[in-house]
Subunit: 158 residues, 2 copies
């Protein structure tokens, strides 16, 4: 790997204590982008009163019904203790439900209610317009794919 200096030859040599420009700091730019995307999500789902975590839970249950609470929670990086209130909310709204598993009576398997299935259609319609808006910001699906690939490289190495 060759090291090519990125500095303008006219510019003064950088010292080690040069403050980095905020707009080039990965974590900072990442955070600002995430807040902006989440804000658009929140605005989009204000009428449905659905938060990102709730969207993700419903989506995961729909994709694979019957999974245990702790399985869904872990996939989303939510501590099982914090998942309880989240699931309580979805259950009170009649969108999803806990079922006692006959094999292991400690665990709850999660399912959508018929009302929840119906809600999903609305949810996806709203999500799709939100996601299309984000793809438009990026410049198209090819850029979205590039972004997702780069973001995956940053994630998940605990």
């Amino acid at each position: 790997m060759t090291v090519t200096p990125h500095q303008d030859p006219q510019a003064p040599i950088k010292t080690t204590v040069q403050p980095p420009e905020m707009s080039t700091i990965i974590g900072y730019v990442l955070r600002r982008a995430q807040l902006s995307v989440f804000q658009d999500f929140l605005d989009s789902f204000a009428a449905l009163k659905l938060r990102p975590a709730e969207f993700s839970v419903l989506n995961l249950i729909a994709q694979c019904p019957g999974q245990k609470q702790s399985e869904i929670a872990e996939q989303l990086g939510i501590k099982r203790a914090n998942f309880v209130a989240l699931m309580d909310g979805l259950e009170k709204r009649g969108l999803a439900e806990r079922r006692k598993s006959p094999e292991d009576k400690r665990s709850h398997s999660l399912h959508l209610t018929p009302q929840g299935e119906c809600f999903m259609a609305e949810m996806f319609a709203v999500w799709r317009t939100h996601e299309e808006r984000m793809i438009e910001r990026l410049g198209g699906e090819a850029e979205r794919d590039r972004l997702v690939e780069l973001l995956e490289r940053l994630s998940d190495r605990a």
Copy 2:
């Protein structure tokens, strides 16, 4: 603009209520990446007991000393009410200070202390190793630049 179907001809036609794969959802992948980068930041700065917001504040003060509290706060998207405790902490640690502005006696201009200037060298050294690690995850500086450019497109359209 032409619309090219991305579907496998063998695959069943997608309905409007198909649950999207989580790993393709921009907001979700973005959030996971941000948490992972921040976790590395927090681990890196555990010894210096410095949080991302504190790092950003010190960095902005160093880049442009004398700015008002509300100016620094606004650049970082922090409400001025919430900035007070943050600045109190930096002041109590002797890293930065408020100075009464002679022109406008309502406002405080922010500066690093001599101890704060000294702290910056340590801070940048730690930050640099963190940032290099993130660039390594991405695959190099070219990928970092591509990522930053894509993230900028997602941000800041309030």
